[in-house]
């Protein structure tokens, strides 16, 4: 890599309405932000830079009938951002199920792909804390991947930088070890 900017493909997963597109929107420079996000159909690609890593983010649709398409992207993903709506208590089990399916997929299983879980909508009332979300998703059982969870809000942007910085650090370390 020669000490230049590291390139990484990051897959942004999560249930519908968990805030994946809003999150990528918040990562853009302020002048490029869209004022309104609409539900993503199929997938969209986005670029952003952080901590010396140039991310190419795949934002895939989280609608239940589209989730079967997630696995198409697993093979070339260098990192995964899993977005959870911390205020949607009802569907935490669904998020857990989808996360487990993803981790058990042959294209993912055993690969040391950094997994960043974002407990989004932390500003909403009744939102669960990051620890609660981690417990509800059973993150402590993940052994084959480095993972990190942080509470964030795609609307205000709080907590986002922390998570992305962790992801960038992980990716840089992996590259330098090779």
């Amino acid at each position: 890599m020669g000490g230049g900017v590291t390139q990484a493909t990051v897959l942004v997963l999560g249930l519908d309405n968990s805030g994946k597109s809003s999150l990528l929107n918040a990562l853009r420079p302020p002048e490029q932000r869209a004022s309104l996000t609409v539900p993503t159909v199929a997938h969209k690609q986005d670029q952003f830079q952080s901590g010396g890593v140039s991310f190419s983010a795949w934002d895939v649709s989280g609608a239940s009938r589209m989730r079967a398409l997630w696995e198409r992207h697993y093979r070339y993903a260098n990192a995964v951002i899993f977005v959870v709506d911390a205020a949607d208590h009802l569907r935490l089990v669904v998020a857990r199920e989808e996360l487990e399916l993803m981790l058990a997929h042959p294209d993912m299983f055993g690969r040391r792909v950094p997994l960043l879980v974002l407990a989004n909508k932390s500003d909403a009332s009744h939102a669960l804390s990051a620890t609660h979300v981690a417990a509800a998703l059973g993150l402590e059982r993940i052994a084959d991947k480095p993972w990190h969870i942080c509470a964030c809000s795609a609307l205000t942007g709080s907590g986002l930088a922390d998570g992305i910085a962790w992801l960038a650090r992980q990716l840089r370390e992996q590259r330098s070890n090779k």
């Binding site: 519908d16 239940s64 949607d88 009802l90 569907r91 935490l92 009744h126």
Partner: protein
């Protein structure tokens, strides 16, 4: 359950949830029009607690409204089709009225029309209100008369009066001199019926079933009665209704009654009809939308399916007493399952009579419902008899195929329906006897006739073929007819040629059609057509496209041609019918093409002619 389960259990904080409700008192409503469905429960209250309307977001109670009386049914409906969508109304039925809530606020109260008191009760009250009769003996005697009348026809005042002690009765009569003029109808059950569209957000009307066995349909805008139908000639009391179809088109209201039977009301019926009776009391009914078949669970531990005509299709014996039933439509799998909860705490899902899934809940179900809650489409909402709320979400990967893993097949695979075999008639018996006795002769004569038929067919074909060879050579062309018709406005027309062989016994081979265009004004897409063998009396049509070509310097006169007339000299097309091996055409026809409609002339041609500019 383990890893094989098709359902995800939602962790519900059970400490503060205590629901005491009825199957009809639960609804899933998109209350705020944000596609986030809330659970609306009409809670009967428990002990000291008064009845309340509770709103749940997921498993979290977010709001409640105090109710004036015990709720009998909770339904949600849209009453106008405006854009953006108005919020849905919630209708709550009480004993004699329906309260309509909009945005959690009481919006309208509908009282059922009253009925006249029956004569004998009126007479008793006339005597009771007379001060001369206010002594113990007469009151006791009159109370006895009231007591002997059937409870159902008595007014509320009479019933209250009967429940009083003698002193209270005397005091009551001292204080009030009013006669109970009319008796209120009482609501037994409530449901909704879509008006004119099956859309999820289309306008619905409220349907109310009364204790007197009447079904009343209310107008969605004004909440006035638009239809009142008696359930059955014999008095039946409804307690669960399922309305399918559309009020303005065609509808069916299937009604379970307390008299061990199910009745049906259809559009334009003056009176409902008895559909079928069951041996034991009906616990719940559901109607499958696919074929209008009716699923019934009864207290004799059975689940049965009846056709829409009321004929029993099958019956399954259940291990325990069924307590609740709901439909589980799973659209992306294309199945509608029927969930049946048993008193043993088991919950079974049936597809037809085959059991597809089983769950053990460790608690007896009181009410259950399947539908969209929050943003999740497939949520099973279960209220247990202890007042707990269980939520189960169907896994995205769940499959209810009979071959899918994790299903224990129950019972022997038996035929779904008995074969429809007609009764053996005398004619049939005689025929079968004959067939047994003279089997060989019958077979031989059949084979003989079959061979004769085959021979005849072969002969006719051969004859037609041999004759076709010398057909043209004889120089007779009358049997062939050629006609053409032109369709279209242009510039592309469709010319359909029709070649007909009018001869009774001769076939024609080796024919072909050639188009001869007089000028370069027309382009024929398929100028040479080979005609296949044309049997006697047959005709073949050949549609061909012909396009009128406009030159670059178009003559403005073209725009003023009469559309119905003819395009002039250059518009003739010759059609020649050729026979193989002959130098001259055997038939020729001329088709006169109509002029192209000026409106259909390609735009770029109009531009180049400068016609458009001259207009300005």
């Amino acid at each position: 359950m383990g890893g094989m389960s098709r359902w995800l259990d939602v962790v519900v904080g059970t400490d503060d949830i205590d629901i005491n409700t009825l199957p009809s008192n639960i609804a899933l409503v998109d209350l705020q029009n944000d596609n986030e469905f809330k659970l609306v429960v009409g809670d009967l209250g428990r002990g000291e607690e008064s009845p309340r309307l509770k709103i749940f977001k997921g498993a979290m109670q977010i709001s409640d409204i105090s109710l004036p009386d015990l709720p009998l049914g909770v339904v949600s409906l849209y009453t106008s089709e405006t854009s953006p969508r108005s919020t849905p109304l919630i209708a709550v039925a009480f004993s004699t009225c329906v309260y309509i809530y909009r945005n959690f606020k009481l919006f309208y109260k509908y009282y059922l029309p009253t009925v006249e008191l029956n004569a004998s009760e009126m007479e008793v009250w006339n005597k009771l209100t007379d001060p001369a009769n206010h002594n113990e003996e007469t009151i006791l005697a009159l109370t006895e008369t009231l007591h002997n009348m059937p409870q159902k026809i008595l007014s509320i005042q009479s019933r209250d009066f009967l429940a009083m002690t003698l002193e209270q009765q005397l005091e009551f009569l001292e204080n009030s001199t009013d006669l109970p003029k009319k008796r209120d109808r009482e609501i037994a059950c409530i449901t909704t019926l879509r008006m004119s569209s099956v859309d999820r957000y289309s306008v619905s009307c409220v349907v109310v079933g009364t204790e007197d066995g009447e079904i009343i349909v209310l107008d969605p805008q004004t909440f006035t009665q638009i239809c009142l139908v008696k359930l059955c000639t014999v008095k039946k009391t409804p307690y669960q209704m399922v309305a399918t179809g559309l009020y303005n088109v065609d509808y069916r209201i299937t009604v379970a009654t307390r008299e061990k039977c199910v009745c049906l009301i259809k559009r334009e019926w003056k009176e409902g009809r008895l559909l079928f009776s069951t041996e034991e009391h009906v616990v719940a009914i559901e109607v499958l939308t696919a074929d209008s078949s009716i699923m019934v669970i009864c207290t004799d531990n059975t689940l049965a399916s009846y056709s829409k005509k009321g004929k029993r299709q099958w019956l399954v014996n259940l291990e325990h007493r069924p307590v609740a039933m709901t439909l589980v439509p799973i659209l992306h799998l294309g199945v509608t399952l029927v969930a049946v909860a048993l008193a043993s705490g088991h919950l079974h899902l049936y597809d037809g009579k085959a059991r597809r899934d089983s769950m053990f809940l460790r608690d007896v179900v009181s009410v259950m419902k399947f539908g969209q809650l929050g943003q999740e489409e497939h949520v099973f909402i279960i209220v247990t008899s202890n007042g707990n709320l269980l939520l189960k979400i169907l896994k995205r990967t769940a499959d209810f195929n009979p071959h899918a893993a994790g299903i224990e097949l129950t019972g022997a695979p038996v035929a779904q329906k008995p074969w429809l075999i007609p009764k053996k008639s005398k004619l049939f018996l005689e025929q079968s006897v004959r067939e047994r006795e003279t089997a060989v002769a019958m077979h031989e004569s059949f084979q003989h006739e079959l061979n004769r038929l085959r021979l005849l067919a072969a002969k006719t074909l051969l004859e037609a073929h041999t004759k076709s060879d010398n057909f043209i050579g004889a120089g007779v062309m009358e049997p062939i007819r050629l006609s053409a018709e032109v369709e279209g406005l242009g510039p592309v027309f469709r010319v359909t040629l029709q070649v007909e062989n009018t001869s009774a016994d001769k076939a024609v081979v080796g024919l072909s059609v050639l188009f001869n265009v007089h000028s370069t004004n027309y382009k024929v897409y398929n100028p040479y057509i080979k005609v296949p063998l044309l049997g006697p009396g047959n005709q073949i049509k050949f549609p061909t496209k012909i396009e009128e070509i406009f030159s670059e310097n178009i003559n403005p006169d073209v725009f003023f041609r009469n559309v119905t007339g003819q395009a002039g000299e250059g518009s003739l097309i010759k059609v020649l019918l050729l026979k193989e091996g002959r130098p001259n055409p055997v038939l020729a026809a001329t088709v006169t093409m109509p002029p192209t409609d000026p409106l259909m002339i390609p735009y770029d041609k109009i531009q180049s002619s400068g016609f458009g500019q001259s207009d300005k």
